[in-house]
């Protein structure tokens, strides 16, 4: 796995192709939009989708925690799909998460889906997290500098000679990082959509996730902003 270094507000950050951000100087790991227990949230409304999403999401997250051994883990909001999600997390998954967080400080940034502190999990719940020159927020703010945010679930379609290849991605410019959604049941919003494009008026770069590495493509600055086709499967931000 080759993480890509970027510099924001003078700090060197590593974008990991698994979709997490690592800040080596602070031994901080950041992950956005886990949407744990999204499956059971659907089930509660009568759509009995497979209940394995939390297990799947955590199975991907735990090895990353093990590898980076962070001092601090910033969960960038929408860690649970709804405010009761943490209470519904099955015992086995809960144990998995607690054990993996052992030795690290967990920071639960509030998201619009989970504006409350996660029940029965270690760590502190905050509205936003400031550290050094960086601000960690769920919802990105226009014209912010040194901001790490999630919420929008960016994905991009890269043109290749065999047609477009669509992947979740990081989007960055010199001021901010927009994180991909990490959860197993999280869809994406195209980076051409006005909600994302307007955050990068002077353009930037997208980093598409791959199994071994990231694929970087430039992001054009704001010309006429195109609203993407409504993505029927997109997660509502």
């Amino acid at each position: 796995m080759n993480a890509a270094p970027i510099h924001i507000a003078g700090e060197r950050l590593m974008l990991d192709p698994a979709g997490v951000l690592h800040w080596p100087a602070r031994r901080l790991l950041c992950v956005a939009d886990l949407h744990l227990e999204k499956g059971s949230a659907f089930a509660a409304r009568g759509r009995l989708v497979p209940p394995y999403d939390s297990r799947e999401t955590l199975a991907r997250l735990v090895p990353l925690l093990r590898r980076y051994r962070p001092r601090r883990v910033v969960f960038l909001g929408d860690s649970f799909h709804d405010r009761d999600g943490a209470a519904r997390l099955p015992a086995q998954e809960r144990a998995m998460l607690v054990q993996a967080l052992n030795g690290a400080e967990a920071v639960w940034v509030a998201g619009n889906h989970d504006p409350v502190a996660p029940e029965g999990l270690p760590g502190q719940a905050v509205e936003a997290w400031a550290e050094g020159p960086l601000a960690f927020r769920h919802i990105p703010t226009p014209r912010a500098t040194g901001e790490i945010a999630g919420h929008l679930h960016p994905k991009a379609t890269a043109p290749t000679r065999a047609g477009g290849v669509c992947r979740p991605c990081f989007v960055t410019d010199a001021r901010r990082v927009l994180m991909p959604a990490f959860g197993a049941y999280t869809g994406g919003l195209d980076i051409g959509d006005a909600a994302i494009a307007s955050l990068f008026p002077r353009g930037g770069r997208s980093f598409l996730l791959g199994p071994e590495r990231l694929y970087s493509f430039p992001l054009a600055g704001r010309g006429p902003v195109r609203t993407g086709a409504p993505d029927l499967f997109a997660e509502a931000p």
Binding site: A18, L48, R161, A162, G163, G164, T186, L232, F233, E235
Partner: protein
């Protein structure tokens, strides 16, 4: 011989008609209380034959309540038949009420129909399912005497047919005395159709009434003047000849194979239309009001021609059509006959049809099809077993109607033909899926849709279950569509969402016979204006093309192989085949010819398999997987109806090792796991089974947080519970229809030890059409990341690393763009147009 009672006899006589033998045969069957299947060509008074026993019965014994339910695959047909029945019933003064019930029926009338049902109710499989899911279904259907299924051949073997068969089983439980009457075109497998219709799933319990076709149809082969195209499927080169034939006839239907082709042919005809003949177009994506207008104009004889797709294959009787032109290859014998039958709707005169092949292979196919018609042969696959997704929907619908015992419901559904062989295990798994999702991890106890009472009856948990069912009802899953709205003029029809995503504002495209300029996107609608600059593009719709039937493929192979049978082929085609014999060899009848040759820095492998597009796409996936293992560096492939062509970095040497039966083992498993086809199949199955919500156009905006990407569910489920009932259903369905695996297995078995490998130094004449074919697939999986890496590396440069066959061989293709061709522009458009937006399989990204 029985005679008709009054007032029927008088009514027939007043029109100078006498009842036809099959109409009397159906009366006899009714008198003996027999179920009956009527096979007759179009225009034989089939529908009247189906209704006559009910009309006679109701005339003799007038009564309140539902007597006969009529089910048609088309809403429009139900409406049309209601009109056709109402007239004679009124003229004879019969006390019979007739109504339709479809998705378009207003709410107040639906309510009234539930309280006071008409004597004859004309409906569709979807509306019938809905009626049966209501708690008052037992009262409504208790007195039912007859079930009439129209166009049964178009329903049996499809998911709608599965649904209808299950509904008929329920009707048999509610009204055990109801007779079944199937009306169908002539089919290749009458036994299977009888079993589908039968209340016991046994063919013998349905009497078969067959009418001999009238005079055999007369075919003409129409070639373009000048050069006979090598490739392409549109047939535009023949537009002048088609126009001349329209001028010479009274009323013509010009049948085409796809909606895109309809647009192009229609545009081409209007450019030639100096006499301003009234020529219209009819296809499934046009707004329904426009379609009705065209149908009405056709019915009163105001049109000289209509360019139509399969949307006109069935149903409505347009008396006066005297010529049918089929543009492009017919793809199947039965399909051709059905279309030809639209002309001259009288059984005693021959139908006339003109076949217009678009390329050389299609010429051979057209000749093979006409020979098959002359020989009286039909094709068509025997019906497959019923889908488990449809069963899941049915189980939920029945639970909404009344609490049920699994034992009793199992007995009921296994009386439906498509489910006769349903195992108890599959049934139980489907019921469990409906109950709580059927997951090994018992996480959803609180969220069950059904609960069991102390007596073992299953109940629904609340009224929301029925609401949810109604939102998801039906077995037709549309690809996401967007309305096309003309500024200031309303909706013209629909295009697929992916097509819109390839458009930039200012681009123009051809739709509904007009050039439209793309302005902007609004939620669920594309806003367009008239006119626009540059070459218009043509919307293409997924899954539009029918594959060549096995039967017709065998006939094509037989003709190619045997020069003595070339005498019916036109000279350019004979010349082409002679050249092939000289430069390479002719594909053998039973073996397999494989050619390999270098071209443009790559190696090509062309296999003359003749198994249809679907089978070839699957085969392409499998063979390229094997080539990867053998280090041949496959790059991509294309499957046409006739051949499979693969290009690779290194020379494919041991071709025997590529076409062995074991590629259906390991490679198949691997491929299935990643295949986008399987993902699409899963999406449909998950929607029909009620796992994910059906997309309702216009509702996306508010409902977005509720929807869930089926690909994500598929990935998670496959990893955590690979034997889940919906994954089993997905694999079974893919193996049957979508991927044509059965056809491949037969092919590979047939050719073992009979593979002829020709190493050539250049492309052979028969291989040319494949190399200029559109719609290539690229080797998936690992290649996707290789492609991304390449694209990322090239991103600042012009990304011209694409294939250039289209350009290199442009001189031998027909021009697809509507106006003059500019290669540079075409290239730029090709890139944007690329159809295959790949979603990331989570397995590949390792996420």
């Amino acid at each position: 011989m029985r005679t008709l009672p009054e007032p029927f006899a008088g009514w027939f006589a007043a029109r100078g008609w006498s009842p036809r033998p099959h109409q009397m045969a159906l009366l006899d069957a009714a008198a003996r209380d027999e179920h009956v299947l009527l096979l007759a060509p179009t225009g034989g008074g089939k529908t009247l034959a189906g209704f006559l026993p009910s009309l006679l019965d109701l005339a003799a014994h007038p009564r309140e309540g539902l007597h006969t339910i009529y089910i048609s695959p088309l809403k429009a047909l139900a409406v049309d038949i209601a009109r056709n029945l109402t007239a004679p019933v009124a003229e004879m003064g019969l006390p019979i009420s007739i109504e339709t019930r479809t998705g378009d029926t207003p709410v107040n009338r639906r309510q009234r129909q539930r309280e006071r049902p008409p004597n004859l109710l004309l409906t569709t499989p979807e509306s019938l399912t809905l009626l049966l899911s209501l708690p008052d279904a037992p009262e409504m259907f208790a007195g039912l005497s007859a079930i009439v299924v129209d166009e049964a051949h178009a329903l049996a073997g499809t998911k709608r047919g599965d649904q209808l068969a299950l509904c008929m089983s329920r009707l048999a439980a509610l009204a055990p005395r109801a007779r079944r009457v199937g009306l169908s075109a002539t089919v290749a497998h009458p036994q299977a159709l009888r079993a589908w219709l039968s209340p016991t799933a046994r063919a013998d319990d349905v009497r078969l009434v067959e009418t001999r076709g009238g005079a055999a149809p007369v075919f003409d082969l129409q070639l373009p003047e000048g050069h006979l195209p090598w490739g392409g499927h549109m047939g535009l080169a023949s537009a002048p000849e088609i126009y001349r034939r329209i001028e010479a006839a009274r009323v013509t239907i010009v049948f085409v194979n796809t909606r895109a082709q309809a647009e192009l042919i229609f545009a081409a005809l209007w450019r030639l239309n100096e006499a301003a003949l009234p020529i219209a177009m009819h296809h499934g994506s046009l707004e329904i009001g426009l379609r009705r207008k065209v149908e009405a104009a056709m019915a009163v004889g105001r049109l000289r021609a209509v360019v139509a797709t399969a949307s006109l294959d069935l149903g409505i009787d347009w008396g006066d059509v005297d010529q049918v032109i089929q543009v492009g290859a017919p793809k199947g014998v039965s399909r051709l006959l059905q279309r030809v039958g639209r002309a001259n709707h009288r059984m005693d005169e021959p139908s006339r049809a003109v076949l217009v092949p678009a390329n050389r292979f299609e010429v051979v196919e057209c000749v093979a099809a006409t020979e098959a018609v002359e020989a009286g042969d039909l094709d068509g696959e025997p019906p497959r077993p019923g889908g488990l997704d449809v069963l899941a929907q049915h189980v939920l619908a029945m639970a909404c109607s009344a609490p049920f015992r699994p034992d009793e419901l199992y007995a009921e559904v296994t009386h439906a033909g498509p489910y006769a062989a349903l195992s108890r295990r599959d049934f139980e798994d489907v019921v469990r899926f409906v109950e709580d999702g059927g997951y090994a991890l018992q996480a959803y106890d609180r969220f069950r849709r059904l609960f069991r009472d102390a007596e073992g009856l299953l109940h629904v948990r609340g009224t929301w279950v029925a609401r949810q069912l109604r939102m998801n009802l039906g077995t037709i899953v549309e690809t996401p569509l967007l309305k096309v709205r003309l500024r200031g003029a309303g909706v013209l029809g629909e295009v697929e969402e992916w097509f819109v995503s390839t458009l930039e504002p200012g681009d123009c495209f051809l739709f509904g016979g007009q050039v439209l300029r793309y302005e902007r996107l609004e939620p669920a609608a594309v806003i367009v204006s008239r006119g626009g600059e540059g070459e218009p593009r043509v919307p293409v719709y997924a899954g539009a093309r029918m594959p060549l039937t096995t039967y017709l493929a065998a006939r094509v192979r037989a003709i190619l192989h045997d020069p003595r049978r070339w005498k019916h082929l036109p000279e350019p085609v004979r010349e082409w085949l002679r050249l092939q014999r000289l430069k390479s060899e002719l594909p053998p009848r039973d073996g397999l010819l494989v050619e390999t040759f270098p071209r443009g820095g790559k190696w090509f492998l062309v296999a003359y398999t003749f198994e249809g597009r679907l089978a070839h796409q699957t085969l392409g996936m499998l063979v390229t997987k094997r080539m990867e293992k053998l280090g041949m560096g496959p790059l991509g492939y294309v499957g046409t109806d006739y051949v499979l062509a693969i290009w690779s970095a290194f020379e494919p040497t041991d071709v025997q090792a590529l076409f062995t039966e074991d590629i259906l083992g390991d490679e198949m498993e691997e491929w299935l796991a990643e295949s986008s086809m399987l993902r699409r199949t899963f999406r449909n199955i998950a929607t029909i089974a009620g796992l994910i919500e059906k997309s309702h156009p216009g509702a996306e905006k508010s409902g977005r947080q509720m929807t869930m990407n089926s690909d994500l569910i598929y990935d998670v489920l496959r990893r955590h519970q690979p034997d889940h009932i919906l994954l089993r259903a997905t694999r079974a369905e893919a193996a049957q229809g979508l991927t044509d695996v059965a056809r491949l297995a037969t092919l590979l078995a047939r050719v073992q030890g009979r593979i002829r490998h020709r190493v050539l130094d250049r492309v052979s004449p028969l291989a040319v059409p494949a190399l200029i074919e559109e719609g290539r697939e690229w080797v998936p999986g690992g290649a996707e990341d290789a492609l991304l890496a390449e694209a990322a590396a090239l991103v600042e440069e012009a990304t011209d690393g694409a294939e250039h066959f289209t350009e290199a061989l442009a001189e031998v293709t027909e021009s697809i763009p509507v106006r003059g061709t500019s290669i540079a522009r075409a290239k730029a458009r090709d890139r944007r147009r690329s159809r295959h937006i790949r979603g990331a399989p989570k397995m590949v990204t390792g996420r």
